[in-house]
Amino acid sequence: MAEGGYKIDAPDQTERAPRRWGLKAAVLGVLLFLNVPVLIVFLYAFTTDDQAFTFPPPGLTGKWFEIAWDNQDVRDAVWLSFKVGIVATVAALVLGSLAAAAVARTRFFGRETISLLLVLPLALPGIVTGIALRSSINVLGIDFTFWTIVAGHATFCIVVVYNNVLARLRRTSGSIIEASMDLGATGWQTFRYVLLPNIGTALLAGGMLAFALSFDEVIVTRFTAGGSQRTAPLWIFDSIVNRPRNRPVTNVVAMAVVVVMMIPIFVAQRLTSDASLLGSPPTDDDDD
């Protein structure tokens, strides 16, 4: 792969043109299919039509943003989402990186089981996680509060942090830690000056993704939230299903949630090539 790396990436000129056009059209079609819908929501946030979903919009206006901003319900929901996201992310950072360190550094009984267990919350349908948590919270007699939402979110946020940190740890050589210890550094010094600089960006990226995921989550949240509590996605869901009158404001909140989520993910993506929601790092062995 190494010596031929350049050729492999070069477009194949010998291929017949007509078939490539068909392929290109298909690619374009799929990409449009994937990306246009969200843009449509952005467009509708500006529409003057508040009764139906007329396309193309009869006119454009910015007044819905003002109305949404003044809406106390919306503010509460977004603020709750922020708080939950931050607390869950912090918990996930601590627990997720500890788990990653344990799996990466040592071989112990049940290691494989644990690495499987850690992927389960992403692999199993969200409803399973949701109802499992709800039933055990019920059984334990705990009230559904802010903290039960956080617990639910932390469960899958851990997985994201774990995946990111583990991918990085596998790539950092264990010998630098041994070297640092041999040179007389204390455990804390080794962590602070050797390990942290190496995994720092992975931690940050994992944290950003975890926050974004938490900000996005609705299925598990619906099972773990208390009666009066609504995160921003729950608010949107509620508006879509139960209060169709609220359309224009819903559009604005929808757009805002997308934009808020984009920012941390962009940063995460900049920071590291490992960052991936699926936990499968892109194949970057052939970089440079």
Binding site: R19, A26, A99, P125, S135, I219
Partner: protein, 278 residues
Amino acid sequence: MLWLGGVYLGSLLGLVWQSFYTFDDFAGKVRHDLGFDTWERLWSNETNRIIVGRTVLMALAVTIACAMLAYPLAYFMARYATRRVKAVLLFLAIMPLWSNYLVRVYSWKLIMAKEGALPWSLDKVGLGKGLEWALDLPYIGGQGLTFSLLGQFIVFTYVWLPYMVLPVHAALERVPRSFVEAAGDLGARPATVFRSVIWPLALPGVVAGSIFTFSLTLGDYIVPTIIGNSKPVIGAQVYVYQGVAGNLPLAAAFTFVPIAIMAVYLTIAKRLGAFEAL
């Protein structure tokens, strides 16, 4: 570290336990005596079997559609695109995963509404009749796209497609170009090359992607709540049982249907080498 061991696994086990409790219809309360009553009720109920069947069919259809849509994109990225183009394409393919899931579902409610963008564009290109015809079809049709299984299918496919593109792309990237050229040199026609060289090598990627698309469709209740005729799917039914009816044991037992299906599915996937392709 043991957060998951405790909280998550504990909850799952608790859920199994709950599913053996019995629900007293008359008192409307959960009786704490263990038994297989709930499981029996789950299976003997015709409606529940239909719900499971419908959900599995939908998951299968969505998975196949995702594979068919993901393949050309992944193939193009893996074989023809220059590095720069590939980076842009990958970015565009993952982009939707970065937007709010609920917003993405909601966007289709806007698009598929009667006066929305999709019917409008179909009318413009003269396919308005085609849409009417599709909506008149029994079973998958309905009052409008937003209220039909057809619409639900489109939205599911849209929502989970990126999860298929990535593994398929990763798998295709590992197909050595020389294999394809050798097959061509040896006189194989493009269709034959695809069938006997590319497909077997790409299969693990497709299976890996299908784990996501299948599992996610199986457990989702958001899409069916927002889009589709009101025929329930597994996820929605579970929510109804635990929420409105307060029948947690039955909901718990029901949850194990998708888990069991996924367990079977994962075993097959492992045979096909999907885990190496993840």
